[in-house]
Subunit: 362 residues, 2 copies
């Protein structure tokens, strides 16, 4: 297993973190500590938001779903994520969302890391939600409703526990099997869990409501009457054009916080509102330039869609954690001829390249 | 070594073609046959140009260079390439351009192939140039000048030999060492080669002139007096904003053919011209909707910058060639839980995941 410092490496090699490696890494660090440390990286990058090149994701839509590239750079490093969203994938045993990402050196353009990001995206989404809630949720909140108990639900629960001390969960999903899976997975991890028969029941007594459903359509997971004064809403599931979770009236009563307005206005809950509707950028709150929660009665809404800087932070964190571990393999990704301008010569000198001459007649 | 049909695979695995594998594959097929077959794939995709989602590349510029993502899709498959351009990289033994790419299934969003593309880009650039020349160069042309004898030069020579029968080369580079390297590499491969002392000397008697220099700046590799009637110019090196190779007057005398005008107007030689200057799209010529070379006296110019569909074609070709070979390894890239919505459960059930419980206190 490779344990050389990642810096002293052959130029052709790029460390690759597989799904297996990522699980090893997460479990070695521990899920809660991983989420806390990752949130700290995300927080640090939000704080220096203006250092980043920002662009809405580059999406290729089809009838079945979407494939997106999410690039960003802080001028020293560059990162991008490939991510798909295909709601019908679960029918044949595939993931709705899979992802991988690359972290690179801006000065040379050389990739420094390739990593699976299906698991890592689940973790960074949850870490970002909990980070936002630390600035927006009522102080001392311990009870959270989670509506939508699919792949992201447990990660949200763990992140809110790790970062805010949330230890009471009220779960609801239209598919009871999903709630049972979630309850089973979280058993013994320090939560008091109530499975609820409706969204209405789930929000009763909850100070934080997380909506994280998966359908690719307009839905109304929360209606106006379900949202009480002082509540923090963590809206994670509405994250592409045509997919929202909250009734428009809730938005009109809430102070809305978003990652990157040009992207969120297209993809988030606020696609239901006029383009000029006031929203606050989360980075301003984190950087101390804007106020998060003002008072106890205020309804706060984090309209989360996921932004490229969060993936950049996640790749940056994973790369920092890899050194000295064996949780990666080296990929022979980059051509590295003896003489940089002699790419053809590299082919010529490749063992067995007499084939080159032999085959000229073919 | 894996030899199972690529279709019957585990959902988590994605075939990866390393630099080593790519060299094996190219040499097994033979360089000239590879270039010919690749050109046929590129031609086929140019012919169905309107099937493709097209967008200019997504570039992240820095002082030292550029990192780009080049996505496209034909509605059934999706491909993108990561490519950097860093002219100063050769100082510390790195490549100016390195690249890798991904080919994916639009219906599921799942990647089907990850491949090195440094070598593959060199091959597809040369194959595209030769393909264009087959429609644009004077019939029966056998003599080509190559100005700029760096990493791409031999690939251009081989492609023009394979597709057009070019077997006389006139080489020039301001660095004599580059010309010597090029001459050495091409020795015994069926060319009559003349090393020239100037660009002026190189173009004498050449029916095709390929310019493929590397500096990231405006340069004048060809001046107006060097370009005679009937010549075909294959301008490969001017490929980003601020980087051109031809004197503007040459452009005004030429019929100009380009890949994708919105990209070429920013990156190609024609960035020197008004935005409205008439250019012909290469795909129209290939599809029989426009005329390429009209007469013997005409100067034709292929203002090549490289477009995403060419990379798509190259990935499509490599994937078709991989089946039944051992020129790849499987990467465990995609999370594949037993139950698609149970990503967290996959972590819980990972061998050694008692760590999860143990670490909760950390």
């Amino acid at each position: 297993m490779p344990t050389v410092p990642i810096a002293d490496r052959h130029l052709n090699l790029v460390p690759f973190v597989s799904v297996h490696h990522m699980m090893e890494l997460v479990l070695e660090i521990g899920v809660e500590r991983f989420l806390k440390e990752l949130a700290a990286y995300i927080e640090e990058d939000f704080r220096r938001w203006e250092d980043f090149d920002k662009t809405p994701r580059v999406a290729s839509h089809s009838r079945e779903g979407v494939i997106e590239l999410m690039p960003t750079s802080d001028g020293r490093h560059y990162g991008f994520k490939y991510v798909n969203g295909h709601p019908k994938n679960t029918r044949d045993g595939r993931q709705t969302v899979t992802a991988f990402g690359v972290y690179a050196d801006v000065e040379t353009g050389y990739p420094l890391l390739i990593s699976e990001m299906t698991i890592l995206t689940a973790l960074r989404t949850a870490a970002t939600s909990a980070l936002a809630a630390r600035y927006l949720a009522p102080k001392g909140a311990r009870c959270m409703a989670i509506i939508g108990n699919g792949a992201q639900a447990e990660f949200q629960a763990m992140a809110f526990k790790a970062l805010l001390g949330v230890d009471r969960l009220r779960l609801f999903d239209i598919d009871q099997g999903a709630t049972e899976k979630c309850q089973r997975n979280l058993a013994g991890l320090g939560f008091e869990i109530v499975a609820c028969a409706s969204g209405q029941e789930a929000v009763e007594g909850a100070e934080i409501v997380t909506t994280v459903t998966a359908d690719k359509q307009y839905a109304t997971i929360l209606t106006d009457n379900m949202v009480g004064a002082g509540m923090h809403i963590n809206a994670v599931g509405g994250d592409c054009p045509g997919k929202t979770e909250l009734h428009r009236d809730i938005l009109l009563r809430s102070d809305i916080f978003v990652e990157y307005p040009p992207q969120t206005r297209v993809e988030g809950e606020i696609q239901q509102l006029d383009a000029g509707h006031p929203v606050q950028e989360l980075w301003r709150v984190i950087a101390g330039r804007a106020v998060g929660r003002r008072d106890k009665g205020q309804i706060t809404l984090f309209d989360s869609v996921g932004f490229a800087t969060e993936d950049f932070s996640a790749l940056r964190y994973v790369r920092d954690k890899l050194s000295g571990t064996s949780h990666y393999v080296d990929l022979d990704l980059l051509a590295d001829p003896d003489e940089p301008r002699d790419l053809f010569g590299m082919l010529l000198r490749f063992p067995g390249s007499s084939l080159l001459a032999k085959r000229q007649g073919v």
